[in-house]
Amino acid sequence: MKSQSLSPEKCERVSGPCTNDVVVVYTPDSLLRHPGQVLAEIFRDLWRTRELTWILFCRDMKAQFRQSILGYAWLVAPPLVSAAAWYLLNRSGLMKIDTGDQPVAQFVVVGTTLWSAFSAVLMTPMDAIENGKPVFTKLNVPIEAFILAATGSVVFNLVISSTVLVALLLAIGVDARITFLLFPFAASSVLAMGFTLGMLLAPLSALYADVRRAVSAFLGLAMFTVPVIFQVPEDDSGMIAGVIGNNPLTPAIALSRDALLTGNLDWLSRTIVWLGACCVLTLASVFVLRIAKPHIITRMGM
């Protein structure tokens, strides 16, 4: 007999007449007493629930625009509108945007596209837990599958809006260059950072609504700590410049834009370093979520 039970907290095989039976044991002990087991389970569950993840992803995809006429156009609209706003502000002279030697329009549209994907992916783990509450409090399902499925939607959305973005850039006369091929990597790094941060906040956010509110409130401010609508200041002596220069997200955003607009690869090494850190942190956050899950569900109520 093979176990179908999803994410048992601790599995042990017992000897005896029914050695094939999988026995699940629940005790008050911390799961961290067997970290290797938890780690093995995380990967086993990821594999075992790949179909669930895919089906949930398809569900969200299909449901997203079924009640809409313009459908996927809505994926492209927000960053374009936002870019248009900045562009107009700049043109009217109300605000001077320092984009170096790049035309403002294309500079800003790349930035806002990436930023809206980052904002979306940052909220995703927290939203997925919130939306899945009715299921999580009743059925033993792997939360990770729900989070991954929701993240899949954000990735998909970014793919669509990036495709439109690239087409747009080519249309307004940006030269196609080999570094375009680096853009998917750089953009994925942007998403990875948002995802990691979201995952780290998720356990706390599942308990306190403050976290999500704080994140959405500060996202607007956070936009100015990364080079979304202006370039990284040359002179890094000021406080703002210091924040921007040291922000883990800066290299990935700058690299994404350079890949499309200038072909400059100065930010590549720093992006790779931070991406590596993200991978480690994401694994850690999945671990934390595993350990925290029964406690979170306890506090979610009936």
């Binding site: 907290e9 005790t27 079924r66 009715p134 308990l207």
Partner: protein, 401 residues
Amino acid sequence: MSDVLIRCENAGKVFCRDLKRSLWYGVRDIASDFLLKNVRDVQLRPQEFWANQGITFEVRRGECLGLIGRNGAGKTTLLKMLNGLIKPDTGRIELRGRVGAMIALGAGFNPILTARENVYVNGSILGLSKQQISDKFDEIIEFAELEDFVDAPVRTFSSGMQVRLGFAVAVILIQPDVLLLDEVLAVGDAGFRSKCYNAVMAMANQAAVILVSHSMPQIARLSSHVLVMNAGEVKSCTDNVAAGIQTYFGEFPKTSASSVVSRGTQIRSIAFDDSLPVLLGGELTVSRRDDVLIRMEIELEEPLVQMLCVLAFIDAEQKSVGRTECVTAALPAGRSTIRIQVPQLPLTPGNYDLQILFSDSNNPKRPFHLARYDPFGQVVVKGDVAQYTCTSPILFDSHQC
């Protein structure tokens, strides 16, 4: 015993009444898991209470444990621990084999998607592969009787159709060794319910089952033993199902004040068969399936052409489970006796309130209420619970003597 599929030893769970504190305790509990603090010597923190305490039982394959108790007794908490949703704070729970739950039917349904799409989502959430779902897809739709609506969005379904679909997915797809049932044994209309019932039974036969229900006839029919919970603790765990159900009913406060409305008519006493007559608020005893002769001693201020007597047996859940009506011949002023013959009293053993209503039925279209006893007294039905099958209110024949 190798066939014990569910073993629960001294399981306990602490909850907190205050939300803000509860959240903070949650943070602290997560932190102490990370600090590998030993299982906190469970000292209740402020506002905490035991939602479950010292729960110990075993269920073998083929057995069904009926979990009963009043609202808030901790039944759902126990199910959640068994399902691995929440961690016990004390004790140990061991489950062998696949665990399936008929809880939250239709989990993950998206109303905008079609029935077909939702079956895959729901089945997948229940832990099945796409192939497994495809194999049984037709069976699911056939069971739900929704062949004509497979590709319609679920939000165009009536609530009954939605719940039928959710039920069908669960009952066709899960084949558990350990089955957790929380009140959902059957859904839909009368015809559909019996189909549900059979399907659940087929699933339950091969599994160790835990059934939570407030319907005592259901518990009595299905359970091999019962666990009565009260305020988080095991009040009784017994394979004498009838006794367990009695324990549960005993938790309900006996109706002390009976409301009596009387206009010129009153009952002086009631007797069953040859027992001693009891007065208002008294207790009558009867064996189930006995023919009962009810003798009512009444007193009238004025003579009546005919009187309608309605006797109703009210169970602990305040449901009328048995009712008899009869019309008397002309009654003189003063005292007289009414005799009502009830053949084979078809009531589950237990305690009932005897509610009595007298009306002047000279004009049958507009009966005038003469007296109403709510209740007159208690009726204790004794007997073996194993045999009875009645679940719905019955109207039994009565013969006036």
